[in-house]
Amino acid sequence: MASLTNRSKVLEQTPLNLMERLYLPSIFKGMAITFSHIFKKKATISYPEEQRPFSPVFRGLHVLNRDEEGRENCTACGLCAVACPAEAITMEAAERQKSEEHLYREEKYAAKYEINMLRCIFCGLCEEACPKDAIYLSETFAPSNFTRQGFIYSKEQLLIPDPNTEKEKYQVAKGLREVHKKNK
C-alpha cells in the first residue's frame, strides 16, 4: 500500500544478539537507574504541615468582598448571575435603610445571595462581570459535605470577615489577591 503522507517509519526489528538475549546487562542498567533514584529529590509534600502554594490564576471558592470600612460591595445588580454559564448564582435585592449605611456601600444591596457550588464550574466569569469588585474567587477549596443542600452557600458563608472587627480572618480570606494583582 502506498503511503499517503511519507511520514510513516518502517520499524526495523533485528533479532536480539547474545548480549541482549542474556537480559542481564539491561537488568543491571535498570537497577542502576532505580538505585540512582534513591539520591534524587523527593517529590512528596507532607501535606498538612507543608502546603503547595496556589498558582496566581487559581480560582477557588467565591468570596463576597467588603471595602476598607467593612461595608459590603455588592449592589445586587445581577451581572454575575447573568454572566454565570452554569446558572449557579441567585440573589434578591433590597434597598438600604437609613440606619444601615455602615453595612452596605451603595443604596441597593443583596438581601439573599446564594451560589450552588455543585453547579459552579469555577470559571471566574462572575468575577470579571462584577463592576463593583464585590465577588472574586479565592484560594480555598469547597469543603466536602454530606447533603446537596450543604453545597448551596448562603451569603453569610460567602461574605469575607469584617476587616475592622476580625482583622486576621480578613487577611486570611483575602489571601494573596493583592500581591498577585500587583505582579500583573
Binding site: G30, M31, F35, T44, S46
Partner: protein
C-alpha cells in the same frame, strides 16, 4: 541432670534458641514489610510511611494491630478445615527452615559452649530443600479450599512454578556441593572461613558465580517475588491465592512471604557469602584480643548485615523489573536455567577432577 536420657540443659538451651530465632524472624519479617514500603518509596522519589512514630517506625505494629482486629471471614462454600490449615502450613514451612541455618559460631555461656545453630544436621541443604518443597502446600491448600477460580488458578501457578524452579535450584547447588563435599551448612561456612584475606577468598560466590546467579533467580521464584510473582499477579488474578482470606489469616500468608524472604537471604549468605564470616578479619586472632563471645556476636552481626543486603536486593529488584509472562517463566526455568545449571555442574566436575589429578 537428664530426663528421658536427654541432657536437660541442652534441651533448655535449644528451646531458648528456637524461641529466639522464631521471635527474631517474626520481628525481622515485620520490619521487612516496613522496609519494603520505604524502599519502594525511596526508589520512586517518594517518602514512604512516616506518620506512625518517628520515621514511621511503628507502622508495622499499626498494620499488625489492624489485621488482628479485622473481621474474620470464612467463605460459606469453602472447605473450612483446610481453609484454616492453609495459612498455618504456609507459616510453619516458612519458619521450619531456620532450624538448620548457622546463625553464628559458638558462644560460651555459664561454662557451656552454646552453638548458635538449632540443629547441625549432616544433610542441612537437603533439609532446606525438603521444607521448601513443602511450602507449596500452604499455597495450594489455601487456594483450593477458598473455592474461588482466581485463587485456584493462582495456586496452580504457584505450585508449578515452585516445583519447576526447585529443579534448577537443586542442580545449581550440586556444583557447590561437589566443591564443599558436605551437606552440613555449618561445615560449608567453616570451609569458607578458612579462605585467604580473613575468609573473603573462601567465599563460594567467587568460585561459583554462575551457580550463585541461578540459585538467586530460583530463590526469587521460590519466594514468589517479582519478577516471578505470578501467583499474586493482581492485574490478572485480583489478589492471588489468598484472595478470600481476611484478618490475621491473610496476615499469616503475607508474613510467611516475608519470612521466606528472610530465610532465603540467610541461606544465600550462608552458602555463597561466608555466613557469619567477617570478611578481611581473621576470627581466631581477633578472638584472642576481644574474647570468643564478642567475636561470635560480631559474626552474627556480619551475617545479619549480609541478610539485610539481600533483603534490600529483593526489594530493589521488585521495584525495577516487571513481571514475567507465564510461558516466559516456564521457558526460563526449564529451557534456560536447568541446562545452564547442568553445564555449570559439568564444568565444576571437570575442574575438580583436573585439579585433583
Amino acid at each position: 541432670m537428664t530426663i528421658l536420657q536427654i541432657d536437660f540443659f541442652y534441651f533448655l538451651e535449644k528451646l531458648l534458641l528456637i524461641g529466639g530465632v522464631i521471635t527474631f524472624s517474626l520481628v525481622i519479617a515485620m520490619y521487612t514489610t516496613y522496609a519494603e514500603r520505604k524502599v519502594a518509596a525511596v526508589l520512586q522519589d517518594r517518602l514512604g510511611p512516616n506518620r506512625a512514630g518517628p520515621f514511621g517506625l511503628l507502622q508495622p505494629l499499626a498494620d499488625g494491630l489492624k489485621l488482628f482486629f479485622k473481621e474474620e471471614i470464612i467463605p460459606l462454600t469453602s472447605n473450612k478445615l483446610l481453609f484454616v490449615i492453609g495459612p498455618a502450613l504456609a507459616m510453619i514451612t516458612a519458619m521450619l527452615t531456620s532450624a538448620v541455618i548457622p546463625w553464628g559460631s559458638t558462644v560460651n555461656m555459664f561454662g557451656r559452649n552454646v552453638s548458635l545453630q538449632i540443629a547441625d544436621v549432616n544433610i542441612g541443604i537437603l533439609y532446606v530443600f525438603g521444607v521448601v518443597s513443602l511450602g507449596v502446600y500452604g499455597i495450594m491448600i489455601g487456594g483450593w479450599s477458598s473455592n474461588n477460580k482466581f485463587s485456584l488458578i493462582a495456586a496452580v501457578r504457584g505450585a508449578s512454578q515452585i516445583i519447576s524452579y526447585e529443579l534448577a535450584m537443586g542442580l545449581s547447588l550440586i556444583a557447590l556441593l561437589m566443591m564443599t563435599g558436605s551437606l552440613s551448612l555449618k561445615t560449608i561456612v567453616e570451609q569458607q572461613m578458612s579462605g585467604g584475606w580473613g575468609g573473603f577468598l573462601g567465599w563460594n560466590v567467587l568460585y561459583q558465580p554462575l551457580g550463585f546467579l541461578i540459585f538467586l533467580i530460583c530463590v526469587f521464584a521460590e519466594c514468589n517475588r517479582t519478577p516471578f510473582d505470578l501467583p499474586e499477579a493482581e492485574n490478572e488474578l485480583n489478589f492471588g491465592y489468598h484472595q478470600e482470606y481476611s484478618s490475621m489469616k491473610l496476615g499469616f500468608y503475607l508474613f510467611a512471604e516475608y519470612i521466606n524472604m528472610f530465610i532465603s537471604s540467610a541461606i544465600v549468605s550462608t552458602l555463597f557469602f561466608g555466613g557469619y564470616d567477617i570478611p578481611f578479619v581473621n576470627e581466631t586472632t581477633l578472638a584472642h584480643t576481644l574474647g570468643g563471645n564478642v567475636v561470635a556476636l560480631l559474626g552474627v552481626a556480619a551475617l545479619l548485615a549480609k541478610i539485610v543486603f539481600f533483603l534490600f536486593f529483593f526489594m530493589w529488584v521488585r521495584w525495577t523489573i516487571p513481571r514475567f509472562r507465564y510461558d516466559q517463566l516456564m521457558d526460563l526455568g526449564w529451557k534456560k536455567l536447568i541446562p545452564l545449571a547442568l553445564a555449570n555442574m559439568l564444568i565444576t566436575a571437570i575442574v575438580i577432577l583436573w585439579l585433583n589429578k
